[in-house]
Symmetry: C2
Subunit: 522 residues, 2 copies
């Protein structure tokens, strides 16, 4: 591993502690708990204006913590966004993109050959240096082949699955997705881990909740600082909830899933308080990308007043709910207008652990502690990529689009619509429109819905362009794209025979290897 | 005045008190303070998810009071909605509609001949019976001719104007709008009451605030229960704010106006607390119709996740922010899913005063006290009218559209767009589409944005239709439309020579009377 520059603070204490110099009860760095939702939208929480107001626990979390109304994922799609969170780097740097076609979203389906490169520093690897025990509960999505296993990248424990819970499959053309405990699979979705597509019933959120509670209790008992990455997926289609929550939401099945998550978050926060570690535990709640409006209204969430959803680089695709909670440290009931990114959770976590970010590479994440603890605001750009292409950038209140695209006319005519009911002429385009010379610019304060581009002739436009241009030029000039990981697909690499399958008698025979370019339609 | 059935409670005490039997300090009915905004949208407050979160006072009001996420105006336009509030009756009953053309929005511009009919019971008239002193601050909008003057309809005091603050006019083709104190005009907009259209500066909200504070102090000193109707108009285009607020919002000029209003509401609530009358004062905050998206992004607000805006019977046109506040009586921090209507403020106010609503006519308003004080939910329909036409009804979570229309193709092609950036095929139609036999039905819980009509063939659709049909039939069978007040226009009736103009030397000579049908384009 490349050297990680030391930072002052906790770390010194830890070194002392490890050397036996610190007595029991010496201050520990805070525990870190990242609650990452799947396809949950900005508008899905009561505190963000969801009309049914069914998230009392998350609303309370915001009332006791800090809300970030301008917080962004690193990509409009799941795998790249998650890779960015755990590496603090844009997908274009960490390899979670494709060059097969221009500006295409890509992720890690079962047939993907790539995954998280060994050269990337994954957050739990680094936190180890500060004595953290790390667990991932839920969806990994950074590659499912053995070399990409989360326990090879710093996590000490895993309960969950490498891919989405799509299915059921016939285990012939395509195997069902495995569920792992640590190194080995313990079953498959739709088999040992049932999801009833008809009723929407699955008890997975309860299982993931239990995993979280157990881990927290064990680490508290062992007096070890922990990093828990709770990456649950009940709000990703096919959405599910356990029986006590089914049919309880005004919002239908999607709302049932949200209610169960809200209830679970309440239980997690309560446990921290009951164990008296809430004041030494940093908790952050957010989502991997915007609500999947193609799954609406029954299986998709809400992006509130924003344009379009998942798969797009409009606000609806990448603006996320975001709540920081750390009683006694982060002041209660505050709103921060800091432009935040999911990649900031990497840098902020390191900062919490008393570690500096790796100095041998570009890190896009910002340390949010000054914003959270001191109300500081830092100017920084938010870059919106779709695959290999920089589609847009936000700087302060202004967003400049260099490319606009929803999806192709061909797909759209088949009913695949990432912006149902929305249509902004010249903006939600169905061909890839280039605006690199003369970007479309919106003021997100006056026009959060990206409906009214500034006039090209206005002084305001020219002023903004002058500020945006050097930021983008600097970014592009210094950019060293990582080796693209999402180009090659091969049916042979699917989850046919994951480790542990022998014990369960659930090994399947892979077909012959036929690697080819993955097809990314949008 | 027609007899008003007596109700138990406060009223008896008042009778005793008036007869000298009640000692000083005998319980008074609560003061009533209605804060009515102009063209403010559902999505304009932080508590409703507005991303800039610039309404700390209103958000606190909600935290200390009760939020109604499903609260509706009685019309997508100002005058009818205000007439409905003050009469507790749909505009189709109280005459605030036109029959000149099918399904047309109408209001009270200067040339309107009609206004509030004498036969209508206006709220302050009725409250007088319970000893209330009533004041209107701001926009009346129920007719500007002498017989329609608010002091002829129960108000004891008025500071404000009869019409919108459009202008400036040349006082030849069209006079500037007068501002009244009580019976007489004290000046005109753009003359004694300047509004700078270029900078957006006007100190009117400060003047209206001062009027409110003074009135409250005077009534408190006199120990008389009061009804204050604070109908300010800073968020109606041309939007304005006073200098200290100009340029302070992330949202531009519209946001400056909202910030000044928020600040003013904070001052009003603080005064109630400082005077120790907050526990005896019922306060309700809402708006007359949805945000005017035609004025966006600089002069129009936000309807959050809802479809279209002002002028339409989609949710964006009629769903309103709504907060009830009565410390010690209404429990703090609650959300009520009661379907509420602006007309309920009539009936609720009477109930607070210990009065029953008039029994000689149909009253559409519901007493919301059981919802506010006891969390009770009452099944009731919300009717969405456009002029003379029932466009839609909401029953529980379901909304059925009998007619859909945004505006004409002709207007739309000229750039008049009530749904900018939104387009739901077959729903946001530019011709008046009839669906009375087979309404378009939406589930507002799953689909608040009215994007996904239920399938006509689904069991759900048929069940809902079966429940909606008798409600609508009953409504239409028993409906006795009032004499339409908004049919005739005449330049001669404009504000040429309002009472008091002589003293100011500001009387203008009216042209000859040429009454004709008002033209209502949408």
């Amino acid at each position: 591993m490349a050297p990680v520059a030391a930072a002052t603070g906790w770390r010194l204490l830890l070194v002392l502690s490890a050397a036996g110099l610190g007595a029991a009860g010496a201050p520990q760095p805070p525990n870190i708990l990242l609650l990452l939702m799947d396809d949950m939208g900005w508008g899905d929480l009561g505190i963000y204006g969801e009309p049914s107001r069914e998230t009392p626990n998350l609303d309370r979390m915001a009332a006791e913590g800090m809300l970030f109304p301008s917080f962004y994922s690193a990509n409009p799609l799941c795998s790249p966004s998650r890779a960015a969170l755990l590496t603090g780097r844009l997908p274009i740097r960490n390899g979670f993109y494709t060059t097969n076609r221009h500006a295409r979203n890509a992720y890690t389906p079962q047939e993907i050959v790539g995954g998280i490169p060994d050269q990337e520093h994954v957050l739990p690897e680094l936190l180890k240096e500060a004595g953290y025990v790390s667990k991932i509960v839920g969806k990994w999505h950074l590659g499912h082949r053995p070399q990409f296993h989360p326990l090879k990248h710093g996590f000490d424990e895993w309960f969950g699955s490498p891919n989405c819970h799509f299915g059921p499959y016939d285990n012939r053309a395509r195997p069902n997705i495995p569920v792992y405990r640590d190194w080995e699979m313990v079953g498959r979705y739709y088999e040992e881990f049932p999801i009833n597509l008809k009723t929407g019933e699955a008890n997975l959120t309860q299982v993931y909740l239990q995993e979280a509670l157990d881990f927290i209790k064990r680490q508290q008992a062992a007096q070890r600082p922990f990093f828990l990455y709770w990456a649950i997926d009940a709000t990703h289609a096919p959405v599910y909830a356990s029986r006590p929550f089914l049919g309880t939401s005004q919002r239908g099945r999607y709302g049932d899933a949200v209610r169960e998550i809200d209830n679970s978050v309440g239980k997690i926060l309560s446990l921290l308080q009951d164990l008296r570690i809430s004041e030494n535990t940093f908790v952050f709640f957010t989502s991997d990308n915007g609500a999947a409006l193609i799954s609406a209204p029954n299986q998709g969430g809400s992006n509130g007043p924003f344009l379009c959803g998942k798969q797009t680089t409009f606000e609806g695709g990448m603006r996320e709910p975001a709540i920081a909670w750390w009683p006694g440290r982060i002041p209660a009931g505050r709103v921060s207008h800091q432009l935040g990114s999911i990649m900031d959770l990497f840098t902020t976590s390191l900062s919490l652990a008393g570690l500096a970010p790796p100095s041998d590479r570009v890190i896009d994440g910002l340390d949010l502690l000054p914003a959270m603890l001191g109300g500081q605001l830092t100017d920084r750009p938010i870059f919106y990529y779709r695959g290999d292409t920089l589609m847009a950038v936000t700087l302060g209140q202004y967003k400049a689009h260099f490319w606009t695209w929803t999806n192709s006319w061909e797909e759209f005519r088949q009913g695949i619509d990432f912006c149902p009911g929305q249509n902004v002429s010249g903006v939600t385009t169905h061909t890839q429109e280039e605006h690199t010379k003369l970007p479309l610019i919106f003021h997100l304060g006056r026009d959060p819905g990206e409906r009214f581009p500034l006039s090209f002739a206005s002084t305001e436009y020219l002023d903004v362009l002058q500020r945006v241009t050097p930021v983008v030029q600097q970014h592009q000039k210094t950019l060293v794209p990582g080796q693209p990981q999402l180009n090659v697909c091969d049916r042979a690499v699917m989850n046919w025979a994951p480790p542990g399958c022998e014990k369960l008698g659930k090994c399947l025979t892979p077909p012959e290897s036929t690697p080819k370019k993955c097809s990314w339609p949008h």
